[in-house]
Symmetry: C2
Subunit: 330 residues, 2 copies
Amino acid sequence: MDAMNQRITLAERPVGIVTDRCFARDDVPLPAPGPGEILVEVTWLSIDPTIRGWMAYDTYLPAIEIGAPIRSGGLGTVIESNNDAYPVGATVFGMTGWQQYAVLGRGTRVVPDGVPPEAALSIFGLTGITAYIGLLEIGRPVAGETVLVSGAAGATGSVVGQIAKLKGCRVVGLAGSAEKCAWLTGELGFDAAINYKIENVRQAIRAACPDGVDVFFDNVGGEILEAAIANLARRGRIVLCGAISQYNDEAPRPGPNNLGVLISKRGRMEGFIILDYMDRAGEAIAGLGGWVMEGKLTYKTDIVDGLDNAPAAFSRLFTGANTGKVMVRL
Amino acid sequence: MDAMNQRITLAERPVGIVTDRCFARDDVPLPAPGPGEILVEVTWLSIDPTIRGWMAYDTYLPAIEIGAPIRSGGLGTVIESNNDAYPVGATVFGMTGWQQYAVLGRGTRVVPDGVPPEAALSIFGLTGITAYIGLLEIGRPVAGETVLVSGAAGATGSVVGQIAKLKGCRVVGLAGSAEKCAWLTGELGFDAAINYKIENVRQAIRAACPDGVDVFFDNVGGEILEAAIANLARRGRIVLCGAISQYNDEAPRPGPNNLGVLISKRGRMEGFIILDYMDRAGEAIAGLGGWVMEGKLTYKTDIVDGLDNAPAAFSRLFTGANTGKVMVRL
């Protein structure tokens, strides 16, 4: 009997919150790699908020096609190779999708021996690179400045805050529970943390950032973005990394009512897509790796077991159940 | 009898549309210049939207005090001088305020002989410098790109569009009447103009900018800003110069509902205050002056006579009655 490939595919496009109806499960014959391609057995999946956009409509990538496996980064072991760069047995990172086996080609990267999969998918994966490039290249913090991070207990935000500390900044995080806030100020060394679910966010930011916010690294959008704008320092920079608070909106929600602050404070708001910076991944990983080895940078993972549980793992991002990087172990 | 100084002062802070109740008229003794200062007889006033902010609250400058003359740029003739840099008889530009006589000090600039007052207050004044620096420094247009300008028939917008044309861009303007649009595409050489009062702005921008908007120079804010964001090209830049559509709002209005576009398109939105760039005024004036002398850059003025009519001149900015720079001749 031929080997089969279990997959989780897109059954229908989400409107509002992603429900089980959006997903289907199927079993298809194992795909065969073409020239230059490889076949991998998928071992880990990276579960990221941006998948919500891919499921719904064209964004910076075309929408996932109905019936196709959910697009996702992941790790796999090469089991068949038509490309000497990826020998059989190697661990690779690529866009595996939510399935047991994947054919990968260009853009696949070999994970060096000794890097644990949790690190390869988080701190040394797109998450860490996003935090590093987004903060340093777009936010451009200077020692002594105040950096505010939303989604600060999330995969990206928790790394952003630590990098900002390493660069000599005062760092304030926004997160959704007392436990998350305690983790930020305790283990991660943030100077302050704000529980946005129980505090008046605008006032709490003002209290925690008395000289204003020089850099706001935003993962959530919405009211928190408006509150941060209200507290922007002169020449403040807002890095738009994500807007998870709005990904499940059924209709566009009004935006911040105070963009005039960008004029009076000479502010800059800028979005980015990390795929544009992959030529600098090596620089980012080297920087992050150095800090990890010196014990100055830590990361947390939120691991869910089993391909079948990928949809449940995905929903953790939107309920705020996770602290750190959500990933699925197959 | 001592000479008196007629002034128009701030009687009460505006809420919503600025009415006559906001202004008072008085006569006070002629002020005396201190050491290093000069006394000028005011000859022209520059009427600018930013005055609306100064009347209401602290912005990038402190609010005008109740009972003080309305803060305003203006031209004057030096009639008494304690500063060799400003000899009696010279024409100077400074923050004269809405009054017949003003004491000026640091920051006052001599207007070279031969520059007509209309030019000194518009194309070679803060208006022209704002257009030059705002477009070239913040917007950074590249030849072949598409530049969209709102308030395009206004003092700043009309200059921005012409500079963008001189830099080899495709230029589209938004204005509020058929006459203004005809002026833009006719005399000023814009590639297209959109009458925002009768067209579906979002669709009209899409039609006029089929490859998207690379640079949006925004003077108005509000729904036009949202429509421009919706049409942003990849790596598009939005220069926030003003938001005149919102200056009379009694309460903050919801902002653009599509800031996520700044992420997917890697967009940048940036505000600026021209006072930060006054060290580059000479460079801007040289550039603008060269184009004016070559006949490649034109400007229009909207002149109102008499100090008493300054409030009426000011209101022309908000009704859209003006084409080009509003100024008052005393």
